[in-house]
């Protein structure tokens, strides 16, 4: 963490509500989300499939499919200005220039029938009005910057001619081409081989520092988060369950869901330890339980959990959790650390 938290935040999401209106009913994909991002900071949004983390990213980016998607409330402030109230044209210009995004599957996310250099160069042509030849030159520079060998020669190649890791680098080159303030990375390494994952993450981290970008990392992979994130927000069923700096999450997780996720990571050092999984599945977003959304799967749920929804509240400085018994978990953890 840097001391930038006192400065004006780059991006501030307040009480974001996103619904999906389908024939089966209205699904609350995101329900009252609050996050803040500062320059040079990395925020990881962690969650399972359907937790609403990708929807959050798309809502910030302004590329949600509407309909069926619908932003029912809240604010997304970029440098103090609410993106949701902004005229479409102005918001469009911010996309790619100030806030940009990379996606999980670079193969399907890059246009298959256009050369990669053309696709990167399009950023300069559209936003900066640069001429074709110069745009190509700048595209090659970007490709070199993200570590693509023989960039000059490969700029005319098509996405399917690159390896998975190289394709994701091309996505990154395109996203950072115009030096944006905020970069949203939606599962940037999930589709890649493990060895390549680390390289791509390292590249992202390095570029973030170089450009002093705010990075939002959407992922389900706790292992990725530990290395790069400054702050973590754990999402479940469209809500933030727990949020804090990365150290607190790993040292003293206060929510049973977070603890469950941590317990489910395989550990190299504990060979004989059981791999614990959280039983059950997340609730249907169209049919939420009245109390805590995690209560049906929570081993510690009480009647209170099943009837009264816990609010996200501060349990320690900079550490929030949405659990009635959050303090008990932290205490229990500390107890266990006492020598017997």
């Amino acid at each position: 963490m840097t001391n930038s938290s006192t400065a004006e935040p780059l991006l501030e999401v307040r009480d974001l509500q996103v619904e999906f209106r389908t024939k089966a009913g209205t699904a609350q994909a995101v329900n009252g989300l609050n996050v803040t991002l500062h320059a040079g900071e990395t925020l990881a949004i962690l969650g399972e499939s359907g937790s609403g983390k990708s929807v959050t990213a798309q809502a910030i980016m302004g590329i949600l499919d509407m309909p069926p998607g619908h932003i029912a409330g809240g604010e997304i402030r970029y440098r103090g200005e609410d993106l949701l109230q902004m005229p479409d044209e102005r918001r469009r210009r911010l996309r790619g220039m100030n806030i940009s995004m990379i996606f999980q599957d670079a193969l399907s996310s890059l246009n298959p029938v256009l050369p990669v250099g053309w696709q990167i160069g399009e950023m300069f042509r559209v936003h900066r009005g640069v001429k074709r030849r110069e745009a190509r030159q700048k595209a090659v520079e970007m490709m070199e910057r993200v570590g693509i060998p023989a960039a000059e020669k490969r700029a005319g190649d098509f996405p399917h001619q690159f390896s998975g890791g190289m394709r994701q680098r091309i996505m990154i080159a395109m996203a950072i081409a115009l030096d944006p303030d905020v970069l949203i990375a939606d599962e940037p390494t999930t589709a890649l081989d493990v060895t390549v994952q680390a390289q791509v993450m390292r590249l992202l981290k390095q570029l973030q520092e170089e450009f002093n970008m705010g990075l939002i990392l959407i992922t389900h992979d706790l292992g990725v988060v530990a290395d790069v994130a400054d702050k973590i927000a754990v999402m479940y069923a469209g809500r933030v369950m727990e949020a804090s700096d990365v150290y607190s999450i790993y040292s003293s997780a206060a929510h049973p869901y977070t603890r469950g996720l941590l317990a489910s990571i395989p550990r190299v050092d504990g060979a004989d330890e059981r791999l614990d999984a959280i039983p059950g599945l997340p609730p249907a977003l169209t049919d939420m339980p009245p109390g805590c959304p995690f209560s049906p799967r929570c081993a510690f749920a009480t009647d209170r959990c099943r009837t009264e929804r816990p609010e996200l509240r501060e349990i320690a400085a900079g550490h929030t959790a949405a659990c009635h018994y959050a303090e008990d978990f932290i205490t229990a953890e500390e107890d266990q650390h006492e020598p017997a």
């Binding site: 389900h220 609730p283 977003l285």
Partner: protein, 331 residues
């Protein structure tokens, strides 16, 4: 949903007896006590769908499809016309009065009269039967043949597939109208059966290819592998596992195909190589009518409408059935 399918967090999704290491409350974390919540919106649908529910689903979506309802109703009328034309007209199609040749439609003769002075309404109604015979015979024949060829080629693969596919490709390369035109021309007496046989000869490759494709998509599925591993015979596997799961596309297409064939028969007869007088046929009516198109356009109009409606009804119904049986077309 626009939420991208993320790789399942296997750890969080797998059921297991989870005992959390530190438990402040006294409850024991047992999986059995945890009710499984239903799949969230956008999750996978589970693979328990049975054959019966596929057909039930298809029927349910068909009943709500207006195209199916319209074409189905039209077909009921047309099929009745072909089987019992007497339901629609009590006039004998053979009773004609040459002195009343080519009269315009009137209260007495709804569709007017033809060149021989026959009641044209009666003649057009009676024309349905020959079209229907050719269409249905060809479709059933091709269906049966395509099932056999497709099953053998798709199931056994290898040289069987190679041989059958090459033959299929060769026939496929000949435009069927052209082939039928040349072939029918060398047959002296041509009734519905002759026309049907020649059409079968040149039209089966499309159906056989379709069947082969759907057999091949099933043949490598796990349940077929399992049946093989359990030592089931080829015939049993084909009948029990492959046929029921691969017939869907062909059933839809065969209905469309009846429409295509009825159109082809009318066209060939119109061109002079299909059915011959004294058969009553829409194609023959068109041939006669063409010479009088300016003076008696009604002679052209009525058979054209009947051919059009019949072909339309079969093709639209078949398309609706095909869509309903195709799991991929579900939105």
């Amino acid at each position: 949903m626009s939420e991208k399918t993320e790789l399942d967090d296997a750890a969080a999704r797998t059921d297991g007896t989870a005992t959390h290491p530190t438990a402040p409350a006294s409850s024991t974390g047992s999986a059995a006590a945890t009710p499984d919540a239903p799949d969230p919106a956008g999750g996978s649908g589970g693979g328990k769908e049975t054959e019966a529910s596929l057909w039930a689903d298809a029927w349910r979506s068909l009943r709500r499809n207006p195209w199916f309802l319209v074409s189905g109703a039209l077909l009921v009328v047309i099929v009745a016309m072909a089987i019992v034309p007497q339901l629609f007209t009590s006039v004998d199609p053979g009773s004609c009065d040459l002195s009343k040749s080519r009269q315009a439609p009137s209260a007495e003769h709804w569709f007017g009269t033809d060149i021989q002075g026959c009641d044209y309404y009666t003649r057009v109604i009676h024309g349905a039967r020959n079209s229907m015979i050719v269409g249905v015979v060809v479709s059933i024949g091709v269906f049966a043949f395509a099932v056999v060829v497709g099953l053998l080629a798709g199931y056994f693969g290898g040289w069987v597939d190679g041989l059958l596919s090459r033959i299929t490709d060769m026939i496929f390369a000949i435009p069927y109208m052209l082939g039928a035109l040349v072939f029918l021309n060398i047959i002296d007496t041509r009734g519905p059966i002759q026309v049907a046989l020649v059409l079968m000869l040149f039209t089966w490759p499309t159906s056989a290819r379709l069947m082969r494709g759907s057999v091949m998509s099933v043949v490598n599925s796990e349940y077929v592998m399992a049946a093989k591993a359990l030592g089931a015979g080829h015939l049993t596997i084909m009948r029990r596992h492959i046929l029921p799961n691969s017939l869907g596309p062909l059933i839809g297409y065969s209905t469309v195909f009846i429409g295509i064939i009825i159109g082809a028969e009318a066209t060939l007869t119109f061109l002079g190589v299909g059915l011959q007088l004294p058969a009553i046929s829409w194609g023959l009516q068109l041939t006669d009518a063409q010479s009088y198109v300016t003076s008696s356009p009604h002679l052209l109009l009525f058979p054209v409408i009947f051919v059009g409606v019949t072909v339309f009804a079969f093709m639209t119904l078949g398309d609706a059935v095909r869509d309903a049986l195709d799991p991929k077309s579900k939105r």
